[in-house]
């Protein structure tokens, strides 16, 4: 009898083989999406379970893990179903499923060494999808591979220090070393400041759809593991620098994301910096821990996935015909792809946290908490968010301009039905959650009760 949580590992890994064989047909995309949706539903509805033993190591499906895995599986399902009609690498679907299974191992494992090894295997597995069969993307994939591989030693050494401390309290003196090692390791995985180049580069070089899968998955799983660690290894939370470092990394990521997105001249690169801005906001929510810290963090994990999925699919839909992703080559594309253009705007507003988009409620609560700590920092976050909005409004201006001087003739293009339907559904969901944020806040508040954030 297989323990129910193990299905979250078995399903995606097992489905990778048939999906690999069917990857050239539309059915392959549908099968991958179906498996991901099913795994997402299972992750959401499984009752609380006792710890499991797998090869002598403990696995536990706690409420936070259920929540993040459910979000990730469902977001990846949208990407699979839309991505198959767009320009993604041939191995995107099976490798994405393998990565999902490895993420499930990483998130459920209660041993840091196993989690870090599973995360590294996931990063290595997805490299061909990040490279995306494009001749100009080897360097981006290589940088991603190097950064994710070099993070592993830091985690394994930290895990050894923690295990040694658990076995013998005399090792308490080495816990500060463990905390330093973890700070470096999580810095590389989260790809926040100062390691932000890892994921912004992959967003720049790879297809937006596969880049989005990476931009959603790695920071989300890294935050889940960090939260587990903070909750279980209380000594790490006591380390007085932890909160300050997280806040510093968050503020720097927000400012860099908001500033650097303004100087980008390519749509794919903008996606990476918008994601960096949003990640900074998540780190601020985790570090400030005001009245709504946990609520904001948990709600924002879902809205981030929604915003990034919208941005990724919309970006790739807009780039389907022009091929190039520089803004100058996109003149007039918005007139021929109005739905994708609107979805691009809604996705960017969701990440920037503007009113009427899904990210607003969480961002507003985060800003209130941050303002109580330091009002100027809150204004900095608002200004950085404005940078994201301005960058995408500039893109809208380019997309809406006539493609040739004086020409206003619209050339018909083939409509990509599946991505368009996905964009329509996700855009409506974003607006609905922006106007009526109660459902997402209700789920997040339930999670706060079941899995409260550790206090620094």
């Amino acid at each position: 009898m297989i323990d129910p949580p193990l299905w979250l590992i078995i399903l995606p890994l097992g489905a990778a083989i048939p999906v690999y064989l069917l990857r050239d047909w539309q059915f392959g995309g549908h099968l991958a999406a179906l498996v991901s949706v099913f795994a997402g539903i299972l992750a959401a509805i499984f009752p609380p379970t006792n710890p499991l033993q797998l090869m002598g190591r403990v696995l536990l499906l706690d409420p936070l893990t259920q929540y993040t895995l459910a979000i990730y599986f469902i977001a990846s399902a949208w990407l699979y179903i839309a991505g198959h009609s767009l320009r993604v690498g041939r191995n995107f679907l099976p490798l994405g499923l393998c990565m999902s299974g490895l993420f499930a191992i990483a998130a459920m494992s209660r041993h840091l060494a196993i989690s870090s090894l599973a995360m590294t295997l996931a990063a290595i597995t997805i490299v061909p999808a990040v490279q995306d069969d494009r001749s100009d993307s080897v360097q981006g994939a290589w940088r991603f591979l190097v950064a994710m591989s070099l993070a592993l030693p830091f985690f394994l050494l930290a895990a050894w220090h923690i295990d040694a401390y658990r076995a013998d309290v005399a090792y308490a003196a080495s816990l500060s070393q463990a905390a330093t090692l973890l700070a470096v390791g999580f810095g590389m995985w989260l790809a926040a400041f100062p390691m932000y180049g890892v994921l912004t580069t992959s967003g720049d070089f790879s297809s937006s759809v596969s880049g989005t899968l990476v931009l959603i998955g790695f920071p989300m799983m890294a935050l889940t593991l960090l939260t587990h660690l903070l909750a279980e290894a209380t000594w790490f939370g006591w380390w007085e620098q932890t909160a300050r470092m997280l806040l510093l990394a968050g503020l720097a990521s927000v400012i860099l994301g908001g500033l650097l997105i303004l100087i980008q001249r390519a749509l794919r690169a903008m996606l990476g910096y918008a994601a960096l801005f949003d990640l900074g906001c998540l780190l601020i929510a985790l570090s400030v821990q005001g009245a709504h810290g946990a609520l904001v963090l948990y709600a924002s994990l879902a809205t981030r996935a929604l915003g990034l999925t919208l941005l990724g699919i919309a970006t790739e839909t807009l780039l389907e015909k022009p091929g190039e992703d520089s803004l100058t080559s996109l003149r007039g594309v918005g007139r021929r792809q109005p739905l994708a253009t609107v979805a691009l705007m809604i996705g960017s507003f969701t990440l920037a946290g503007t009113p009427l988009a899904a990210g607003f409620a969480g961002r507003w609560l985060m800003l209130r908490d941050l303002a109580q700590l330091n009002e100027q920092w809150a204004w900095l976050v608002v200004l950085a968010g404005l940078g994201v909005v301005i960058a995408y409004l500039r893109t809208l201006f380019v997309l809406a301009r006539p493609d040739e001087a004086g020409s206003r003739v619209l050339r018909p293009i083939a409509i990509l039905w599946i991505p368009s339907v996905v964009l329509l559904i996700l855009s409506l969901a974003s607006i609905a959650l922006g106007v009526f944020p109660n459902p997402i806040l209700h789920v997040a508040s339930m999670l706060v009760i079941l899995y409260p954030l550790p206090q620094f």
Partner: protein
Amino acid sequence: MREIGIIVSLITGALILLVRDWRMVLLALLGQYVAVGLILSQVTPPEIALIKMLVGAFVCLMLYLAARHSGWSAPAGLDAPRFSGDGAGIRDPLPWTGLAFRALTLCLVFILTTVFTRDYPLPEIPPEIGLTCYWLMLIGLVILMLTGQPLLAGPGLLTALTGFELLYTLLESSLVIVFLLAAVNLLLTASISYLVAVQGRNPSGERS
């Protein structure tokens, strides 16, 4: 036997940094895995050392096959990498890193290694093995700094991880971890080989 392993790993590490013929680099990498296996066979159960050596042999074989089948011509050195396909080739992003520069870098790495071994001894590790760990990790990192091309930098990444594994295997010898580390090494090599093959097929399409 342990001393022989340490000396061979020091020499092979230096060769990986100095030599720029990819076949020689892969040969040195193979020697390095054997040397690390020899060191481990003296301080851990022999089956763990055997696993490490077997994984190393597979790693080198995979890289060799990927390089040969993707158009890296046999006599091509890494100073001027050329492909046998259309002759377009790719440029070394750091053309100033000649033999003299790399030899000087090697000296600096050696000094750094001895300083680290003296001032920051690794926990629960004999000093001579600690020296080997530091040496391999630093050599690997330096190679990663000097080039970004997968066929040139891949052995550097694997060298850095081998140095770390030598340290970590002495600290944690659980079979689950050993097998997972072996899986990481093999999959990592598969990914590097994939990137090498793509770059080989499209030598002029790279942007930095």
